[in-house]
Each structure stands twice: as structure tokens, then as C-alpha cells.
């Protein structure tokens, strides 16, 4: 186990720069998720940590040792690939024991480690099979087994769940998290799925176009997004955001007044953000016209129009509103977010 630190890490492919100076400290035993839209550079950053890509600039250290010039095989890391990358000509047992075999460990030790990992991952019945004889979920587990038999300093995951169906994905999410709580190995986990990030991470680094937009605990990012990008990226359904102007403690937007608290000066142009669950239908407030009602049982999602802008509302319980009906929305001022219209930075 060990901490990982990125210092001003830069990556260029030919003439294109894809990472613009990433700095990030991960403490021993922490589970950090790198999340961001496709192409933002999260896999590249992970692969640089794994030693699979050259480091153009800056340094990466594992356990206090700078590893820029250390081969993958000497970094003492284990990685789970999106495609699993199981060795097709080896059985599950040999796949899992491979890294130990390469380290010339005694066969008895290898057998014992593989047996333990197989037990944790419920793979015991499949040890004699080849990867092609397994389902997607089982292969995924073998890939994890291959990582955990080694007891490495750091676990790396690159979108390990994206080839699984929705149900299995949720189950494996829980399993990986339980595994981390049991092994307490430092983990860097890459995903583009913000729900995965929110549910699994100790801390999340939200990335965009080769930069870290914000680093923090999941609920910190949710409650106090540092900028518009994070505000829009984290949370599902996404935060409602629209243009407005500050006017005596509230925001004029879409032809109505939205309550907000402090920080901005009168006349300042802002982007006003409010999460769907912080807009309750009420007897009085902002008038809106219902467009779609999506009951989900415990909650109901309503898309309504304020002026011409669609606004998403998430209310607890059920609603008997129907399309075309006029309702009133009461925004909770304490949960309103204001961002500078020009820079997108939180006010």
C-alpha cells in the first residue's frame, strides 16, 4: 500500500497536448475516482501511472518514489482493463496466478493466494475454465482476481464495469467497494459514469479537457460545485442552469425572480443553478407548465416549462399533475448555486 502523487503532469501526443499539468495527491488506502467526459484524458493519466504511456512532463510518484523512468513491471501496481485483457490461452487459475509465477513465487504460495482470491470473488467453480468459457461478469471478476492475488501497492481500474449490463454493474460496484474496504489498497478508478464516481469514491477528481476541474469528496462536489462544468456533470438528473441578473438578493431569470443567497452584487450577470430536488411544487411561487411527468415510485420527475425554458423537478412521493397543467415551483434559496456568467466560477 502506498500513496500516489502527480506533480504538474503533462502529456502530449505528437503536437496535441492532452493533459495540461495535473497535480493530485492520493493518500495511502484512498479510493480516488477520475471522472469526466469521453476524451478528457482520464485513461491517459491512469496509463501514465501504470507505466503504459511516457510522461511528457512533470513527475509521478508511488510511495514517495518518482517512477517516471521505472518500467511498468517494476512499479508494483495491478490494473484491471476495460476489455479485461485475460490471457486467452490460460485457465482462470493460471490467469490469476500469472503475476506471482513471473515473480518466481513458490507454487504452494501461488495456489494458496489464488484460492483465497477465488473464494472472495466466488470464482472457485471456474478455476479450470478458459476465459472464452466465462460470462462477461465472470471475466470481470477474473480480471479483479488477477489484480488482488498480488497485493500490489496500487490498484488501477479503467472503466472496468462499462461492458456489463446495468444490473451487474450495480452489483459489481458494491463488490469492488467491499473489496476495497477489506483490502484497503490505494485505488485509482477511472470512469465516465458520475453515479459510479459518487457511490464508490472517497474523493473524486472531475476532469475536463486535460485538467482537473475539481477535487473533493462526492457530496462536497454535489453540494458546492466549484464551477459550471462540475455543476452540470455531477448529479442525475442534471442541475437546472440558466442565465440571469442579480437584483436585490435574488436573481431575475426567465422573467421571474429566483431566490438566492448573498455573494453577488446587484446588476451582475450570473448563471443560476438549482438541482431538481430543490424545486418543490407548491401552492405559490414560480408559475410553470407541466410537459412530462415520469413517476418512479418513491419519487416523481416532472419536466415543466418556465417561460420557454425546460426545468426538471424531482419531487418526493407521487404527483397527480398532468401535461399542460399549470403548477407553482418553490426553489429552496439555501440550495441555489450562482456562477459568474463569464468565467463559470462559483460565486
Amino acid at each position: 500500500m502506498a500513496g500516489v502523487s502527480f506533480r504538474e503532469v503533462v502529456k502530449t501526443f505528437g503536437k496535441t497536448r492532452v493533459l495540461h499539468g495535473i497535480s493530485l495527491d492520493i493518500t495511502d488506502g484512498e479510493f480516488v475516482v477520475l471522472v469526466g467526459p469521453s476524451g478528457c484524458g482520464k485513461s491517459t493519466l491512469l496509463r501514465m501511472l501504470a507505466g503504459l504511456e511516457d510522461i511528457t512532463g512533470g513527475t509521478i510518484a508511488i510511495d514517495g518514489r518518482v517512477v517516471n523512468d521505472v518500467d511498468s513491471k517494476d512499479r508494483d501496481i495491478a490494473m484491471v482493463f476495460q476489455s479485461y485483457a485475460l490471457y486467452p490461452h490460460m485457465t482462470v487459475r493460471d490467469n490469476m496466478g500469472f503475476s506471482l509465477k513471473l515473480r518466481n513465487e513458490k507454487q504452494a504460495l501461488i495456489d494458496q493466494r489464488v484460492a483465497t482470491a477465488a473464494k472472495i470473488l466466488n470464482l472457485e467453480p471456474y478455476l479450470g475454465r478458459y476465459p472464452r468459457e466465462l460470462s462477461g461478469g465472470q471475466r470481470q471478476r477474473v480480471a479483479m482476481g488477477r489484480a488482488i492475488v498480488r497485493d500490489p501497492k496500487v490498484f488501477l481500474f479503467d472503466e472496468p464495469l462499462s461492458n456489463l449490463d446495468a444490473k451487474l454493474r450495480v452489483a459489481m460496484r458494491t463488490e469492488i467497494k467491499a473489496l476495497h474496504q477489506r483490502l484497503k489498497t490505494t485505488t485509482v478508478y477511472v470512469t465516465h459514469d458520475q453515479i459510479e464516481a459518487m457511490t464508490m469514491a472517497d474523493r473524486i477528481a472531475v476532469m475536463n479537457e486535460g485538467r482537473i476541474e475539481q477535487l473533493g469528496r462526492p457530496l462536497e462536489l454535489y453540494d458546492r460545485p466549484a464551477n459550471l462544468f462540475v455543476a452540470q456533470f455531477i448529479g442525475s438528473p442534471a442541475m437546472n442552469i440558466f442565465d440571469g441578473v442579480v437584483q436585490s438578493g435574488a436573481v431575475e431569470a426567465l422573467g421571474v425572480r429566483w431566490p438566492a443567497n448573498g455573494g453577488a452584487s446587484d446588476g451582475q450577470r450570473v448563471r443560476y443553478g438549482i438541482r431538481p430536488e430543490h424545486l418543490e411544487p407548491a401552492s405559490a411561487g414560480i408559475p410553470a407548465e407541466v410537459v412530462v411527468v415520469e413517476p418512479m415510485g418513491a419519487e416523481t420527475e416532472i419536466v415543466a416549462k418556465v417561460g420557454d425554458a425546460p426545468i426538471t423537478v424531482m419531487m418526493r412521493g407521487r404527483s397527480n399533475a398532468g401535461p399542460g397543467e399549470r403548477i407553482h415551483l418553490a426553489p429552496q434559496a439555501a440550495h441555489a448555486h450562482l456562477f459568474d456568467a463569464a468565467s463559470g466560477i462559483r460565486i
Binding site: 503504459l52 518500467d71 513491471k73 485483457a85 500469472f98 513471473l102 515473480r103
Partner: protein, 263 residues
């Protein structure tokens, strides 16, 4: 609708094979053949040619394919140059090699003499050296093709397998042993067998270079038939083809078995 296939089969396979066998039907042909001292030497040469040339060629192809899979611009260019021997027509190039190897005025011995002030070897007038040079020409000519095949085989291996093995701690040799070789082994063995079949029929490398000489000591089964035809012994020539069948048929059999097993 199978009539056209049957017709093609009759015209191009059944008729020539039957006709050949019919020409080779006299038992006397075989007695004469086995009594011919050239024949025994030819069989030995053929076996040596098959075993040495094919295996050396494949070992080289395996090695070179590992080099050419690297994704660099200059390696691409080099590979284009490397393909040339295979792409050029056989007859003029092998003749030109033959001229280069001429002991008196060939370029190789001229350079040899200039560098060492000694006469170079008598490349094609020594049976061992002659057959060796024929094998070298054969390898030189066929190597690009088989290297390409093995490159294709290597390129089909997912890159993540190499990355996973790097992370798992494998050295280059271990990556070859545990990732590359298991993935291309089947291709390598099938190609070797196919190449043996083709090599058995390789007439050019030997005939154009040594003509079977000196003293008919460098013939292989593929060239022996021509020798008899030039001596007007057509049924003798056909008999050599029949004698080659014990070499070819097991190879063809293995090949077919592999192909159907891979389905």
C-alpha cells in the same frame, strides 16, 4: 447447380492426375528410378532442403515479424524494401544471383578478391555449397511472404494483453513466451506445413541457380522430373512425381486436418 464445380474438378484435377498416373503406370519406371544413383541423392537433398530451408525461413520470419510490428515510420519504409524479393519475378532475379555468384567474373567474388586478395569459393560448382546457395535463394525469396503472414498474426493479438503482462511483471521474453507464441502457434505450424508443400514444388530456386549440377548432385524432386524430360524419359519424370506423393500427402493431410479443426 453443382455441375459447373464437377466439370471444373474433372477438367483441372481428375484428368491431369489420372493422365499423370497413367503415364507413370509402368513398374519398370520405378525400378529404373530407384537404380539411378541421382535419385537417391535427390531424395536426400529434398529432405535436407525441406527440413533446413523451411525451418530456417520460419525462424527468421518469426524473428523479423517481431521487428516489423513496431509502429514507426522508418520501420514501415524498411518493410517496403524488405518485401521486394518476394514481389519481383523469380526467373530474372535468380539468374542475376547466379551471375553474381559466378566464381570468375561474378560481383561477389570480385569484391571478395579485392578485399582479401584470395579467390572466392566456387559457389555453384560445389554440391554442398550449391545446394546451400539454392536454399539461401529460396529463403530470400519466400521470407517476405511468411514474415507478412506472421506480422498479420501478431497484429491480431490485442495490445492490452501486452499491457496487462507488462503490469503483471513480464519481461520481453516472457511476453513472447506467454502471450505472442500461444497466440500465433497455430498459424506458425500451419504455415510451416503449407510452406513445406510449396517448397517441395519449388523448382526455380534450384533449377535456375545450379541446374541440378554439378554432376546432377543438387537436384531435388521438383527438378528431377525436368531432368528426365530433357532426356526424353516422360514416364520416368511422372514416376518422380508419384514418388514425391509420400512427402506431400501427409503434409496435405495435416494441413486439411488443421484447417477443419480451426473452424
Amino acid at each position: 447447380m453443382i455441375a459447373p464445380y464437377v466439370l471444373v474438378f474433372l477438367v483441372f484435377v481428375v484428368y491431369p492426375v489420372t493422365y499423370g498416373l497413367w503415364l507413370a503406370r509402368h513398374p519398370q519406371s520405378y525400378v529404373t528410378l530407384f537404380d539411378d544413383p541421382v535419385f537417391f541423392r535427390t531424395v536426400v537433398n529434398t529432405i535436407v532442403f525441406l527440413m533446413v530451408a523451411v525451418n530456417v525461413k520460419f525462424a527468421l520470419a518469426l524473428f523479423l515479424s517481431g521487428f516489423f510490428v513496431h509502429d514507426r515510420a522508418w520501420i514501415r519504409w524498411l518493410s517496403v524494401i524488405f518485401i521486394i524479393p518476394w514481389a519481383v519475378p523469380a526467373i530474372p532475379t535468380i539468374f542475376s544471383i547466379r551471375f553474381m555468384l559466378n566464381p570468375e567474373w561474378g560481383i561477389i567474388n570480385s569484391v571478395w578478391f579485392r578485399l582479401t586478395a584470395l579467390d572466392g569459393p566456387n559457389w555453384l560448382n560445389d554440391p554442398t555449397l550449391g545446394l546451400t546457395m539454392a536454399m539461401v535463394v529460396h529463403i530470400w525469396k519466400a521470407l517476405p511472404f511468411w514474415t507478412l503472414i506472421l506480422i498479420a498474426g501478431r497484429l491480431a493479438i490485442p495490445r492490452e494483453l501486452y499491457e496487462a503482462s507488462s503490469v503483471d511483471g513480464a519481461t520481453s521474453w516472457q511476453k513472447f513466451k506467454y502471450v505472442t507464441w500461444p497466440s500465433i502457434r497455430t498459424l506458425y505450424l500451419s504455415s510451416t506445413i503449407l510452406s513445406m508443400i510449396w517448397t517441395l514444388g519449388d523448382f526455380n530456386s534450384v533449377y535456375l541457380l545450379t541446374g541440378g549440377g554439378p554432376a546432377d548432385l543438387t537436384h531435388v524432386l521438383a527438378t528431377l522430373g525436368i531432368r528426365y524430360i530433357r532426356l526424353d524419359q516422360v514416364d520416368q519424370a511422372m514416376a518422380t512425381i508419384v514418388v514425391a506423393l509420400p512427402f506431400v500427402l501427409p503434409l496435405v493431410y495435416f494441413m486439411m486436418k488443421r484447417l477443419s479443426a480451426n473452424e
